[in-house]
């Protein structure tokens, strides 16, 4: 079947099967680099995207679900070549090492701060519980998010 959706602001049309996950379509059919495969079971968060602004694991979302919707990855956050605030904060706080978890981390941070602009530590840790990082030890990531919350 053919689905149409907006991917980081651009129109996309692609043939998918009803059982294809969005992650599979983004990676293997469209070749999107700003979404990563890590676990395939909603544990690591490397594959996260925004669908109509809501945070989703693309490995747990069927491709059919995004028909007619807007999918945003971390590559779609910059506006007119200017990084979003949360991206800048990650850059300034060295909040990435290998970078594989970073797209999901940034999207989670963005959604968290939209819902709750001044999260407590507890709320921050709880929000990030669906994203795993194996390099940084999380501290720079938490510092980056806190630096945006403070502004």
């Amino acid at each position: 079947m053919r689905i149409r959706f907006k991917l980081d602001g651009q129109d996309v049309e692609v043939d998918v099967k009803h059982t294809d996950t969005l992650l599979k379509v983004l990676k293997d059919k469209i070749g999107v680099g700003s979404v990563n495969f890590g676990c395939g079971e909603g544990s690591c968060g490397a594959c996260m995207v925004l669908i109509n602004g809501r945070l989703r694991y693309s490995c747990l979302t069927l491709a059919g679900y995004v028909d007619g919707k807007e999918v945003t990855t971390v590559a779609g956050l910059a506006r007119d070549g200017e990084l979003s605030e949360i991206q800048k904060a990650f850059l300034e706080n060295d909040a990435a090492q290998c970078g594989y978890c970073t797209p999901g981390m940034i999207l989670t941070a963005k959604v968290l701060l939209e819902k709750n602009p001044t999260p407590s530590d507890e709320e921050l840790f709880d929000a990030l519980a669906g994203n795993l990082c194996r390099c940084t030890g999380y501290i720079p990531i938490i510092n980056a998010i806190k630096s945006v919350a403070k502004r």
């Binding site: 079947m1 009803h18 599979k24 909603g42 989703r56 747990l60 679900y65 709880d126 994203n131």
Partner: protein, 282 residues
């Protein structure tokens, strides 16, 4: 109903879902939040000929009435956290689901079907004596959650039926939920315990409901413990004695996550924490 020919079906209401279920029965997989269902496909456990997505079916609601609560089957966990007036057990169970995305994707209805080491909402609902509302070709059927689990991944639901809502009649006055995961902010459930209580004027338990999750494929009620509590005033001695009976006659999961011994001990600890806390508050 778009994409009908494609195998990805998006019915607009419950009637359309039921008619699709009558036609397709087990050949179709019903998907709500997808957090559990999609893995069945991507891990090649099942290969459904069609997907019935509930994304357009208006079952995302929480209705709080004077003497009952009704929650639509596709209500996301995040909505339970935001809603006022829900029993503590349900709120705590909702909060314990890890991460922003999972809370916003996973649904109350889906959680009922999700086996250990997930399914925390079901544990809380079981302790709240929830009733499931099922709609099928034969009409509406109400099944107590305590009679819904027939065995591992076996449910008291007919091939043409769909779960539309969860109802809690006469919500208990006191309820609590605790769970333990391997690390603090996330991870699979090693054990979870939920307790609901109604006391009479003399402080004796008029109604006590105890549910345990993570120990078996689906949560279960510790009926023996409930009987021990009914009509009694809760004391440390009674609680300690009851804790011993929590897993009596139950074959507890023994796997890489935790041994059955550890799960049993943990269930007792969580149970005692809940009830000690309760009696300490008078």
């Amino acid at each position: 109903m778009s994409l009908i020919a494609s195998g990805y079906l998006t019915p607009a209401n419950v009637q359309e879902v039921v008619s699709l279920k009558r036609k397709l029965r087990d050949k179709a997989l019903v998907v709500a939040g997808g957090t559990a269902a999609v893995q069945l496909i991507s891990k090649m456990i099942i290969e459904p000929q069609a997907i019935i997505s509930l994304e357009k079916v208006p079952l995302n609601y929480v209705k709080i009435r004077a003497n009952s609560i009704e929650i639509g089957a596709t209500t996301p966990i995040a909505r339970l956290i935001r809603s006022r007036g829900l029993p503590d057990a349900l709120k705590r169970a909702a909060e314990s689901i890890h991460g922003l995305a999972l809370k916003d994707m996973a649904t109350v209805g889906g959680n009922i079907f999700t086996p250990a080491p997930a399914g925390d909402i079901a544990t809380a609902l079981l302790a709240l004596d929830a009733i499931l509302i099922l709609r099928g070709g034969g009409g509406v059927r109400s099944v107590p959650l305590s009679k819904f689990y027939k065995g591992p991944l076996q449910f008291n639901i007919r091939p043409d039926e769909i779960l539309t809502a969860v109802k809690i009649n006469k919500p208990p006055k006191h309820s609590a939920f605790l769970k333990q995961t391997p690390w603090k902010y996330s991870g699979p459930t090693i054990a979870s315990v939920s307790v609901s209580l109604d006391l009479d004027r003399n402080g004796k338990a008029r109604r006590a409901m105890v549910a345990l999750g993570g120990l078996t494929t689906h949560p279960y009620r510790a009926k023996k413990v409930e009987k021990m509590f009914t009509g009694k005033k809760l004391t440390e001695q009674l609680i300690d004695g009851a804790a011993q009976q929590l897993t009596d006659g139950v074959e507890v999961i023994d796997d890489a996550l935790a041994s059955s011994w550890y799960r049993r001990e943990l269930a007792q600890v969580l149970f005692k924490r809940i009830l000690y806390d309760f009696i300490s508050r008078g």
